[in-house]
Amino acid sequence: MSKEDVESGLTWEVKANSRHYHKHKQRKSFLCFTWGRYSDNVVRSHKYSLLTFLPLTLFEQFQRAANIYFLLMVVLQCVPAISSIPWYITIIPLLVVLSVRGLKDLASDMARRRCDSEINSRPCDVLVSQSFMTAQWKDVCVGDLLRIRRDQIIPADLLLLSSSEPHSLCYVETADIDGETNLKYRQALGATHNELTSHPSEEALGAFNGVVLCEEPNNRLYTFRGQLQWQGECFLLENEHVLLRGTVLRNTDFAYGLTIYTATGADTKILRNCGKLRAKRTQLEEVFNKVVIGIVLSVLLAALLLAIGAGVFSYQVMTQTSFLSALVVDGNPAYNGFLVYWSYIILLSPAMPIALYITFEVIHTIHSKFIGWDLEMYWKQTDKPAEARNTSLSEELGQVGYLLSDKTGTLTQNRLLLRQCCIAGQIYGKYDELCGTGSQAADYSVPMDLSWNPFSSGGLRMFSPTLVETLRGQRCPVTTQFLSALALCHTVMAEWKEGSPVYQAASPDEETLVGAARELGWVFLSRTRDFVVVSELGATRQYQLLALLDFTSKRRRMSVLVVRDPEGGLKLYCKGADVVILERLQKNCPHQTVLGNKVDGLNLFAEACLRTLCVAVRSVPEALWERWSETLALSAAMATCERDTLLEKLYDEMERDLLLLGVTAIEDRLQEGVPETIALLQEAGIRVWVLTGDKKETAVNIGYACRLLHPESRLLEWQELRSAFIHEILFCSRRQILQSADPQVSFFKAKQTELWATHKEMARAKTSVVLTGSELAEFEERPEWGASFMSLAEQCQSVLCCRVTPAQKAEIVKLVRKHTASITMSIGDGANDVNMIKTAHIGVGLAGREGGQAVHNADFAVSQFRFLQRLLLVHGRWSYRRISLFLRYFLFKTCGFALVHIWFGILNGFSAQSLYETWFIALYTVFYTAVPVMCMAFFEQDVSAESSLKFPELYKSGQKKELSSPRKLVTYLLYAVYMSLVLFFIPCGVFYNTAYDYQTMAVTVSMAATFAVTVEIVILTKYWTKFNIAALCVSVVMFFICTRITHSTRLFQSSPADYFFLGVSEKAFIDPVVWLTALLTAWTAVLPSVTFHAFNVILSVHNKHKAFIRKQILLEVELTSRFARGSSLRRSSYAISQGAGPGRLIHSATSIQRAEALKEEKVSTSKKVQNENGNG
């Protein structure tokens, strides 16, 4: 961003070993630096203090419209002229809601506080007057020199000065920052290294008086710009010189650093990076919010009508000499109506349930907990249960219509194995090399005998005795070079454990290749900045590492330039995606035929679902190297944005005239249960799309392997689609073809004759669309095709998009979101899926082997793809059902109860007289009706988990939004209106023209309302746990007890004006008419619901029965046919991983910077490359 103003940007000044300077001097010498600029290292992530808690939490909570609304109600109620119910009736629930949320916030804040203080009191060594003292993290200041020991966490952003390792290298683990577990390394400036390690450390460090000028604190984790002024010289500082807070020092005994940024004020880069998860709202919630707004508006309208009524009534009363006329305020009917308007708003406000949002949140939280608690989604190997990171989406899991999945690491295990390789035209590891030769032996259960190799740890899954023979006999120099290339050209780190090296790599591909080379005798032992030590068949050799040509997504390759001891010749080893390497080969390649074979090999491997990488070498003349390295040094010092392009050009010059050595083929297995899961989800009506960066052939093969594609399904490719679209657009008269409900049939009519007659269902089952990234790009240029494409895709079994970039993945998700009303779900495991995970309604991160980026950005995290079955079909389905039932029941119970006042208004002169005792209004939503519905929302199961999985079509009701459509909600609202009518008019009929008083009627209606909503919940609940039963009983009993209490003598005596219903329930509860009326009213109120459910029972028993039978028959048929069709030739049980293994620049700290970018590009690059190759 601010690269342009490099010079002016370096305004952050840090003087080593001068606390004084930072605390006092600074302020005087520089006006722009205030005293507060350099602070201590105390983390204060808590929001509240004793004083600020109340105002802050209130401020936060009153940003919600609902709370404001209720606050308004409370305020209105305090105005005596309009107060239709006492002020405390609303303020109590409001206070409960506010305090519940406040306490929740406070609890999490306390947790943060504890966590902070734990972090702040961590020990670290600070240099104080020439000796290191143990201090706490919070005492660290800018300018302090710190000593970090092995495995210590780094307390602040440090400038690395020196370390105990040679060349002042030091290794850090950045798992806390980017989720990657591989080690990165950092290196001190040569100058500081030399000075500070040659003398006794502490003295030298104490005397260190460099001044660092650098950028202001920012959140760019992977860049750092600055300079060190020391001993009259100026050194450029880069990211590789900086140790970030939160990283862990590994493999290094000591490292000394100068504190640059401290934590307070969140100056450190990691703290500047703590983004917030953006809030996603579920569709259901949105619909519901609309309904709530609708209710509020209706209430306002009703209040208006009632107010008009009140005005008219007042006018009439005034013209009469009535007992009421004196009550018309100021003798002004209009003013009276105005006051009544507000009174009615207050009186009807319970129709918009205050407790709803908080209850809703509690339910969501519990549902998320259930997901985390599920043992069936707990993955033992990694000890990870499923996790709902976003707790408010659980019901959308039950409505997913489109599942967009990444392939690598998601469908496949991302456990890469070198299966075959092709060296100098000879393919090793082919099936015919296996003793069994039958395809059954292809599971590689017989390992090769590698006992001759002391470094072998048995990880090789390639069976090729010929290769081993060739290697051991040193018969073929190309083969030897190939292995050397594998052992040298990479960015892997070796860590020695129990006498053997353990490899740490950012790219699983590299780890695999280096591991394979090790099995075959070329063992990568260790590396320093300038040397790589390799044991070649037992002979240890040290290669001087002259240059490491970084992997970038653009370059799609990496190289190392080494001096080969003892010959002294310079070699460039290069590996990369096939297209990139092939175009850089020597013009007159001496192995022309070999090349041909290799390309053959490439195709062969691709067909076998293996991922390929080309390995090449170049002998570099000494003169060229010298010239080149000079330019390199020059341009490296430029430190501007042009440097990157310049470097790229330079690298490009070097990576020329390559000699192809061979091709590697890596395989990635499918995860357990993937085909079954995909089949199940498809049966559940979910359209599964796979978006991958892989090339088309691989993707299609994997599609077959995981049953995404049927063996005999027809693949629709771009050419066909395109012509169909053009066709459609040109001949608008035939628009109905694609836009009609059944574009599929007509599409075939136009394009394909062989399927012309096929039944539409059949056609759907057998058609899949396969697209590639470049085709998609064309597609995006013509947005008018989107709708057609989606309507077509809806008819297809599946859609497969290959060679797509992360951005395109997100584009596809957007396309689906735009053209369908369905819920989309994205699942992926890598940084390249983050985009699509964020774009979809629901993002699922697979806690796989790639870094935690996906999980960090996801709404849900699971460990295995097959856990989706349970997540969607069981938890999602239940959740959707529970929440839908909960919402509509909640609406019903609050509206039905509150709207009674509208009808009562007609018979009380529109005076906003409440039909209930005020205490009943307050307690009704909280004590009498809330718990049973919450129990239902927690425990409801219409069918068991097993049945949910057994009958996936049950899931379809969620996709069709059967339970939560706006129509359904409106129906329920009408039902609530009906209930309110019944609740008023039946008691009204009974009590009309009798001696029963108002208070008895109030108790009767309350009783009827309580009974009615209780019966309704009984009807809705299908799963009666002991909690449900207890909640129900307690609620009803509570009604009687609380009513008796609020009508008791004692309370009346303490406050006659508040408990004026004295003695009513005592009398009413033994009056048969009251009971008979309440029962009749309640039953009449729920009669529609009861009848509806009864009809449902009668009709659905048959339907379900039939559906299940039909389904089972279908299943059997399908299964048998599948077996018959099974193709043994296709090695479809295996899948390969995506693009080329990236070279990561080892001796440049930029490796971390590109960690994500790398992964993202990987996909696109190798795809493109390989496809172009294929097309060419």
Partner: protein
Amino acid sequence: MVKEEQEESSNRPDNTAFTQQRLPAWQPILSASIVIPMFLLIGAAFIGVGVALFITSRDIQLQELDYTGDDSEHPCFKCRTNTEKCTCSMTFSIPTLFKGPVFFYYGLTNYFQNQRKYGASKDDNQLYGDLNYFTSPSTDCDPYTRDSKNMPIVPCGALANSMFNDTFTLSHTVNGVQKIVPLDGKGIAWWTDYNIKYRNPSITPLINAFNGTKKPTNWPKPIYELDTTDVYNNGFINQDFLVWMRRAALPDFRKLYRRITHDDYAAGLPAGNYTLTIAYNYPVHSFNGKKKVVLSNVSWMGGKNDFLGIAYIVVGSMCVVMSVVMLIVYARFKFAEDV
């Protein structure tokens, strides 16, 4: 290794019925064979209750006399607009014995005692006998808090001010002689009202408590003179006052005036001619209200109430009809399936 295992157990979810959502539960499986009989049964039960209520209600005798006097032929017509004291009398006959105990109600129509402002226009603390509120009544009572001389009104408020003040005498014509039917005014108010909710200040004589207060403007006499014969029926605990203060639910209502439980009439009103003499004070003409006197006896379900019985029968019949419809639907389904 050990550490790993420990970690494993720490992340592993608990295997309990609750966390695994396997709580033992009762899942009632409804089928047509339960639902249809259930509907039938409930319908039958409702019809049964309805019929019982209806018969009970039908057996309750009721004599209603409208004495508003809107009709110019009516004996009370003269009193209708008369603001002075006025008495009128109506005669009626009872063909058969009116079984006792007979309840004597007065009824009003189009009278919005349930109007919010009207209902709230009283001071519960004052009525509870709290002397503090005698001198400064609650503003709820506005505009009946103070009179024009700014003297506090006790009992304040519109509700008390508008107390019904017609009085009735019922006489039985026996052999041409008018015999007064004794009316019992004891215990017509709620026990809680009489004993707890309304209290006279504990000052004797009662009149002293009302020093410095005024009677409600519409009242002919102050509250402490409502029944000077009986201290337990005077002041705030006057039964008629209590009955009036218990607001009606709906604009058409009755209130208990007296019971007929004494002497010859304990068993009821014998057949014969009766005369009702009304001291006509209460104006209802201006708001098109009606005044009625209702004589009724009661059953276990209280007064006459045809609505409840009919409503039960209607709802019960709906259930029965519904069950028949369900049966038909069910049968057609079954039939269709068998085919």
